[in-house]
Every structure is written in structure tokens, then in C-alpha cells.
Point group: C2
């Protein structure tokens, strides 16, 4: 039997924060995101958990375990969203972690490790141009100094936003530095169609896909749309379109990888002017790093081809490179054992999306649990997971915490 928790009500409350006609817009240190962090802190405080935050905006709600002096198991996700986000991506994992801690309390469980429910700051990179900002700092992948030098897409610097009215939470102690955890767990919606298609309700993540993001600056020659014959044009948009379609074809040939042009801006973007410049971004991912490398090589080849065939120049700037991150084998095995009675179709599943856990996985054993996403939709206003699956995921997380707590204590 699945014990009902506060997960549905809390997700419904969070879904109001930043909501507009196209979804939820809750970027790091915006008023809506601040309100979401405050709700998390209020709920945690009401449940008697000790609160802390750090200097990048991560918030931790701690449930103590046996007095062993062990490092905590951190369990959480993020409260920020993309500009047109949904109600579950991230928020589910934060609320789910808090509900799991409350369940442990209700059951009177004593863990060998403290367990911290955490809201990682700025996972989406949708205001400050750095994904997994909070978890990356926590894992030491970026220094505090480097993060404090970042400027948001609104021109406001990270420290100004953090120290402003929508920044750190008032009244919550601020940690110095970033301690190393004993392990990391994250509960998340799949954001893809695999579980739904297989009829599974729970997945244990096998690996998080590696990713390369590049920005391509195509410079051609602007000109009058009526007077310049096609053969003498240097149309930056036509070149960008060819590159994008060639990469899509290559990715289909390679298989087990995806490539996306989600961002593209035309200059001067007037109906009657041949595009003189196009800036676009390519996002290539696979759990197999060699496939991502082949997509990168394909991008370089296509850019060279366009330079020759269309007389444009293509500057390629690497925005982000991330190798695939396999989840910890021991934790995965423990989760499969702990969860198989909850879903007879429990399956291993790769994650095409990046997650905070891939950062923390560089300093501690880590694992993730997925629940299905209706239609595989995410990063859109209508992402959806059934209430039954949301509750089942929290139950799975409770069992995962207990299993991992035991596994680590036995290993120690």
C-alpha cells in the first residue's frame, strides 16, 4: 500500500508561482523562484527539519540520523524552470525529497546518515548561462568566484541577484563552503517517452547523457531581397538551415543520440532583407560520448561546406561540453532490489536530460529514479505525470533512501 503524502498539494501550490499562459517561468532569483524556495523552507521548518543555505542559493533541510558523524545523503532536485516550464520538472524531486523525509519521521526510522532534502539552485541555466549552477558549485565543478562573475540574460550579475530581494532566503543560516555528501539521490519525471511506452511506472537511471552545446555565428551578406540574384547571395539563414538539417540527418543515421537547434536568431530579420547574419545553437546528446563527438565533427564539416558553397563564415563557439555520467553501479543494484516490488515493469532507463545528480556524481555515489511523463513531454506548460505515479515515486524514494543508507553503512 502506498502512503499518501503532501506531494500533490505542494506541487499544486508551487505550480502557481511563475505561472502564465504558456507555462511556468521561474528562473533563479526571480520573485517566483524566491517564493518557491521560501515555500520549501516553510514546509521543512514546519516539519522540524534544520535549514541551511549556501552562497549559490542551494537550500538544505536536514533530518538527523544516528549520531555517527557521517556525511549526509543529499536527496533533491531544483525549483527553477525553463522560460516555458511545467509543474513537475525539478519541483517534483524537491517536494518528493521533503515528503520522503517526513515519511521517515512518521515511521520513526533512524538512518545511519543524516538525510538532507535539497533544492539545488538554477539547474536550467535559463537566466544565468550555466546549467546545474547550484549542484555544480556544490560538487566543486565551478568555483564560487567563477559563478559570482556570471551575468544573467537581463544584464544583472549573479551577486546582485543573489543579494537582492529575490535572492538568498532571509533568516536561513548560510553555510560556508560546500561539504562532500555520502551519496546523492534524485527523483525526477522522465521527460521522455520510454517508461510510458514500456508501460513501466518506475525507472532506475542507467546513465545521464553527455552533451555538447555549440553556438554558431554565421556571417553572410545582407542585401535587398528583390534585387540580388540567388547565385550571388551569401544568405546566412539558408546556410544555417542546411547545417541544421544535415545534423538531423546525421543523428538519424548514428542512432541513439539526439541533436536540436532550439535557438536561432536572424539579423536583421526583415521580410525584404537577405539575412546577413544568423546565430544559432546546436545541442547534441547521447549516453555514448563517441556519438556526440561524431555530431560535433559533422557540425564542423557542414560549416566548412557552407563556407565554400555559400561564401559565408561560420564561427563555432563551444558553450558546454559534458561527458556522459553513468550512475553508481552499487546504488543502481540496491535500488532495483528495493523497488522491484513496487512496479513489476521496473526498468533501467537512460536520461537524455542533464540533472543536478550528474554533478554531484563526480564527488559521491549517485542514483536517480524516474516516473513517467505523459507523451514524453517536458519543458512545456502541459507536462504531466499521474497523481498515482507521483505518489509511487515518493514511496520509491523513501525505500531508496533506506536502502542506500544501509548499503553505505555496510560498506563503511
Amino acid at each position: 500500500m502506498i502512503v499518501r503524502t503532501a506531494v500533490l498539494e505542494r506541487l499544486a501550490e508551487l505550480a502557481k508561482l511563475g505561472a502564465y499562459e504558456r507555462g511556468i517561468d521561474r528562473t533563479l532569483f526571480s520573485p517566483a523562484e524566491h517564493a518557491a524556495r521560501r515555500k520549501f523552507a516553510d514546509w521543512a521548518r514546519a516539519s522540524g527539519f534544520a535549514l541551511e543555505q549556501d552562497r549559490v542559493g542551494n537550500v538544505f533541510a536536514r533530518r538527523d540520523g544516528a549520531p555517527t558523524g557521517r556525511a549526509p545523503i543529499v536527496v533533491g532536485s531544483h525549483l527553477d524552470t525553463v522560460r516555458t516550464g511545467g509543474a513537475y520538472d525539478g519541483a517534483y524531486g524537491v517536494v518528493g525529497a521533503l515528503c520522503a523525509l517526513e515519511r521517515l519521521g512518521a515511521e520513526g526510522a533512524t538512518t545511519r546518515h543524516p538525510v538532507e532534502a535539497v533544492a539545488w539552485a538554477g539547474e536550467e541555466g535559463s537566466r544565468f548561462p550555466l546549467g546545474c549552477l547550484g549542484s555544480g558549485a556544490y560538487a566543486g565543478l565551478n568555483t564560487l568566484e567563477a559563478i559570482e562573475a556570471i551575468v544573467g540574460d537581463d544584464g544583472i550579475s549573479f551577486p546582485t541577484a543573489r543579494d537582492g530581494p529575490s535572492g538568498l532566503l532571509p533568516g536561513v543560516p548560510v553555510r560556508d563552503g560546500f561539504p562532500r555528501p555520502a551519496a546523492c539521490l534524485e527523483l525526477h519525471i522522465e521527460q521522455g517517452p520510454s517508461l510510458e511506452r514500456a508501460g513501466a511506472r518506475l525507472g532506475v537511471v542507467s546513465a545521464i547523457a553527455g552533451q555538447v552545446r555549440s553556438e554558431i555565428d554565421v556571417v553572410g551578406e545582407a542585401g535587398h531581397a528583390g534585387t540580388v540574384p540567388l547565385i550571388v547571395r551569401h544568405d546566412a539563414f539558408a546556410a544555417a538551415a542546411e547545417i541544421a538539417l544535415a545534423l538531423e540527418t546525421l543523428a538519424r543515421q548514428l542512432g541513439e543520440c539526439v541533436v536540436t537547434v532550439g535557438y536561432l536568431v536572424v539579423e536583421p530579420n526583415q521580410t525584404n532583407i537577405i539575412p546577413g547574419r544568423v546565430v544559432f545553437r546546436v545541442d547534441a546528446r547521447s549516453v555514448d560520448d563517441t556519438r556526440v563527438e561524431r555530431l560535433e565533427a559533422g557540425l564542423r564539416d557542414e560549416c566548412s561546406r557552407m563556407e565554400i558553397q555559400r561564401g559565408v563564415t561560420c564561427g563555432i563557439k563551444l558553450l558546454e561540453r559534458r561527458a556522459a555520467v553513468p550512475m553508481d553501479g552499487g546504488l543502481r543494484a540496491a535500488l532495483h532490489t528495493a523497488l522491484e516490488s513496487l512496479d513489476n515493469k521496473l526498468m533501467p532507463v537512460p536520461s537524455g536530460a542533464g540533472h543536478d545528480t550528474m554533478c554531484v556524481a563526480t564527488v559521491a555515489p549517485a542514483a536517480m529514479i524516474f516516473v513517467p511523463s505523459a507523451g514524453g513531454r517536458s519543458h512545456v506548460g502541459d507536462e504531466y505525470t499521474t497523481p498515482e505515479d507521483l505518489e509511487l515515486g515518493v514511496e520509491a524514494l523513501v525505500r531508496a533512501i533506506v536502502a542506500v543508507d544501509r548499503l553505505l553503512a555496510e560498506k563503511a
Copy 2:
């Protein structure tokens, strides 16, 4: 021998108005465009010409001819620019017309028709979504009521802008209605490479290309760039890119036509989200209307193909349709005769760009003179024509006015 006029100095003065790092931005009823019209009026007044304006913002400087009661020959172009315009497109034809009238005065010429130098309002359609706004109203192609219902891209209505501080010129009498002229002439830079490539310095326009502008609204399905396999995507950008490239291929096969995607906007335009919607515009032109029709049919076919192959929907909205406009045969012949001694490579040349004269050609015989554009460049900040060619063009316009005045009087 070419008589030196004030054309260069005046173009240099106008080029300061609306100038910024990427060119000149002088949209109708902006402060910069108002200043340009005021300069035109000041120069005309100083030369003793009678000024009038009409209710759409066209400004007329009149040099009387013999008291025959004949309708005027209107000679001019426009002072507004695209958002990243150059110093010659339009402004040259307005200043050139004024200099030509002054030359007629200096020579003591008595024409059989009054001659009006005119600055047509809002040719570019770069603020209010209607090209050739002023000349179209003058020719009765759009009613004053229809134009007064237009709203600019800044949300300001046409009447509000026109009656505001950057609208009609203070102290200049306002005409009621739109009288019919005896003929229309326009001096313009070619904006394409034909004259320069042929080594010609003057061209007599054969016809103005017909044009169809369409807006395509591609609706696909947004989704997470990492988690949705390529085979289940409905990527609106990939569909738009395919349509654009297919149209380019078709136009190359057809020949003697051009097609351009100059405007394209991606939604939500984030690196890590599959584009859920793309709105783009297709501009197809040819002096042969059947080629434009074939491009339109091609657009419909490609949209249907994308609906089937990518599961997107493509709404096609017609923004503008304009048949090709041949210039008046009698006037063209008279211009060739009048101008052949000025340039031994004088040639007929089609106009890929639309011009005010194509509107006025619907109510009166009309002709145009082109001078070369360096590199065929126009609608960009660095469009350029040599001072020698600019002066030659004014000389050609003087001779064209005299020739047309005589031709019409002889025909009458």
C-alpha cells in the same frame, strides 16, 4: 558636361538623420524621418517652390510650367528607410528630383506641365505594415480610411503618429484628396548588381517585379531537447528550414526569380527546447508573374509535405500580392533617346525591388532611371553609389523630365 548640383551635400545631410552603428533607421513619422521631410521642405522653400502635403504624409514641391492647366509630372521617391538602411535608397530620388527642378529653374526652362518633386511617405513598410503607403494612397490603391486603420509595429496607430510631433509638417498646406498626375518619374539606385556588372552607369527600368509575401505559421510540438527521440519529434524549425531550402532550390530551377526567407522567429527559442512553433515569411519576386505563381504553388506543396512528414501544421497567410508592373513603353523609348548620349552602355534593366512608381503607374504613364549600386548592395548601411554616378543620374533626370514633358504635350 555634367552640371554640379547640391545632390551630394544634401544626401550627406540626410544621411545623418537616423544614423546608428548599423546604418540608417528612419521609419515613417519617426523624429529622424520628420527631420528629413523638414529638410526637403526647407530646401524647396528656399528655392522658391510652392509646398503642399497630403493626409498620408506625401510632400510636394511644385515648379509651375506654362499656364496650360495641365496636371503635373510628379518626380520623386521616398525619405523613409528600412531599419538598417543606407544613404541612397529613396533619399537619392527625392533630392535628385529637387535638384532637377532647380536645374530647370537655373536654365530658365518653361515646361508645358507643372513639375512636382515629391517625397512619397512610407515606401519601405518598415513601421506600418504596408509598403508604398504614400504612393499607394496617391494612386487610389488604398483609401485614406484604410490607411488610417493601420497600426504600426510599435502599437501606435497611423493617425496618432501622423498627427503627433513627428507627423505632418507644420506650416505646410494640406491638400484634400489625391489628384491624378500627367506622368510619374523616379530616379533610384539599382539596389542590384546588373548595371555594375555590365559597366553601365545608367539604366532605364523595363518592369518592376511582381511579388508575393506570405507568412507561414508552423506549429509543431515543443519538448525537451535531450529526452525526445528524433523519430517522435514534431520540430517546427526543422520543418521551416526544409521549406525554405526547397523554395530556394525551386527558384534556382525556375530562373529569373528570387525567393527569400528574411524573417524567422523561433518559439520558445531556447537551446534545450525543441521548437514548438516557427513563424517565417517568404518573399518571392519576378518580373514574370507565372514564376511567382509557381513559387507560391511550391510553398503550398512543401508545407503539405512537412505536415505529412513531420506532423506539424503550416498555416499560410498572404501578406501581399503584387503583379509585375511594366514601365510605359512611350516614356521608356523617350528616355532611351534622351539619355543615350550620357552613357554609351545605357541599358534596359528590370527592377527586382518595388518602388513608389509601380503604384503611380496604375494611374499615369511612368518610368524610372537607375544608377549603379556598388556590389549590388542595398537595404544595408554601406550601400554606395559614386558621386559621379549620382550627379550623372540627376543630369539624366533633368533630360528625362524635359523629354517626357515634350512627349506628353505632343500627344495631347
